[in-house]
Amino acid sequence: MALVDPPVREPLDLTRARLSTRRRLADRAATAVISLACVVALVPLVAVVGYVVTRGSGIMSWEFLTSDIPRQYRVEGGGMYPAIVGTLLITGLAALMAIPLGVLGAVYLNELSRQNRTARAIRFLADVMTGVPSIVMGLFVYTIWVLRFERQSAFAGALALACLMLPIVIRSTEEMLRLVPDELRQGSVALGSHQWRTITSVVLPTALPGIISGAMLAIARAAGETAPLVFTVGLVYAPSWSVSDSSTALSAQIFRNASQPFAGAQDRAFGAALTLIVLVFAFTALSRLVASRLAVES
């Protein structure tokens, strides 16, 4: 039973010209719309960064980064050193509390729980907690910690930020652990490895770059938070490295200074904003570098 070859239409034309007018118009239109959407999406991003850099660079200097905060808003000049110290201290402390706890929680959820009822409950609560407004976290810590000890402190602020970071770290780490192929776990177990050794030597190192990205996202989010800090950390004008004393943060200083009618205060607010952006950016770049160093050369 011989099949007849379909006839080849002559001349063979495979160019765009063969497409119908409708198809060509649709193609053009779609390309235009997507390009436009991309440009529009970039506008606020570039505008925000550009505006902060323009307004903030005027006051930016070594002196600004190392001087105390003026006690009166109407004064020109001054610096943000105490706020930089406060942001580093509070965010660092919060990261120290939330990241180990969050990673261990995710290990429980994905590696040990076998997806039982407790695990489902924890996952649900973490999801709910991600959506809780940050000011509620601040209110919570204000009630259970600040009012109880009658003291605003860097630690109280860190506690509020840690509550905020914890669900983010748990969920992002769990997603990363889920991506680790089961074959690797089986390979490790088949070599006579205990489960804990499998987790620490194979599962966590494999997921590490992703875990670091998730932790960075949480840190960046926490470093920019203002609401939970304004009523938990108090206010200082000179740098304080003590966790049990009052502190201040860049985000809180932006809020306080920007809401004043004085030009000097507004300049300081933009200087603080620029400092915060650079700080978060530098930290993200650093952690990317560390993550790439930790990955095996291939």
Binding site: R114, P181, E183, L184, Q186, G187, S188, V189, A190, L191, G192, S193, H194, R197, S201, V202, P205, T206, A295, V296, E297, S298
Partner: protein, 287 residues
């Protein structure tokens, strides 16, 4: 011929080579595993039932049969990998040098240090080649310089010459066949007595398959090997004994349960099977 495609043309195995002498030699080897009445359930589902067989030392035993016949399930009983599957339950007796592997006092971790496993898909860890091979010795507490162990294992897996200049490179930079030999080296590094291989060549091309098969023949002097394979020519080429499994309808439900049909010297299974189900499988009439 090393084409691993299913056995539509599988007639008989390659020429039967000097059986009489070999048979006598292999029959004298002592028993490593003694399996009696082994059944495995996953929850309410019975995957395989009533398996009886003996695995002898320094032999290659092949498990063949159609998909779902329980050959991988049985293989995973030998190093208690079924423990990882929720709801898996093993009945019957599985003795390793007289010790019941499913005795409650037996530590699965100790079992797995003596009985290594190579998986269907090459699964090197995303670490350097060196660290992959050194993983097993390290978890058993060996400290310090493992260069000797790493070199010996890579040589035994016929991979040393290809990787000796790049031991610090990622294992993921290797080709599929190299990765699978690395996994064999990794299993050998803990100095096991038995190697379980679960379709080790199914993800490899014919050339890489041939290399793994050569390797198996070389290392069987030192190890007892059990291999699950879908490829009947492979079983015929490398194994001393073959166990043929198939599925049968369960009497009480519409699921199918795996059973061991025939277990004998490979030459006999392929050239003169006792059971007609074996015959129709090895001649390519079903499966």
């Amino acid at each position: 011929m090393s084409d691993p495609t299913p056995a539509s043309t599988a007639l008989a195995p390659s020429p039967p080579a000097a059986p009489a002498v070999d048979v006598l030699a292999v029959q004298e080897e002592p028993t490593v595993f003694d399996v009696q009445g082994l059944s495995v359930h996953y929850g309410a589902f019975r995957a395989v039932r009533d398996v009886d067989l003996q695995i002898r030392r320094h032999e290659i035993t092949a498990f063949i049969g159609p998909s779902g016949c329980g050959k991988s399930t049985v293989l995973r009983c030998f190093n208690r990998m079924n423990d990882l599957i929720e709801g898996a339950r093993v009945e019957g007796r599985l003795r390793y040098h007289g010790v019941d592997l499913y005795d409650p006092a037996v530590q699965p971790v100790e079992v797995r240090r003596r009985i290594g496993m190579v998986f269907q898909k090459p699964n090197p860890f995303p670490k350097s080649i060196y660290d992959n091979v050194a993983y097993g010795p390290r978890i058993t507490g060996q400290k310090g310089n493992l260069d000797d162990v790493v070199e010996r294992s890579l040589r035994a897996a016929a991979l040393w010459d290809e990787v000796k200049d790049r031991l610090k490179r990622s294992a993921l930079s290797l080709s599929g066949g190299q990765q699978q030999r690395l996994c064999i080296a990794r299993a050998i590094a803990t100095d096991p007595e038995v190697l379980l291989m679960d379709e080790p060549c199914s993800a490899l091309d014919p050339i890489a398959t041939a290399r793994i098969e050569d390797l198996m023949r070389e290392i069987k002097e030192r190890y007892t090997i059990i291999i699950v394979t879908h490829n009947m020519q492979q079983a015929a080429r490398v194994s001393d004994r073959t166990a043929f499994f198939t599925t049968e309808a369960s009497p009480h439900s519409d699921t199918r349960t795996g059973v061991l049909v025939e277990y004998d010297l490979t030459d006999r299974v392929f050239s003169n099977p006792r059971d007609e189900r074996t015959e129709s499988y090895v001649t390519g009439r079903f499966g």
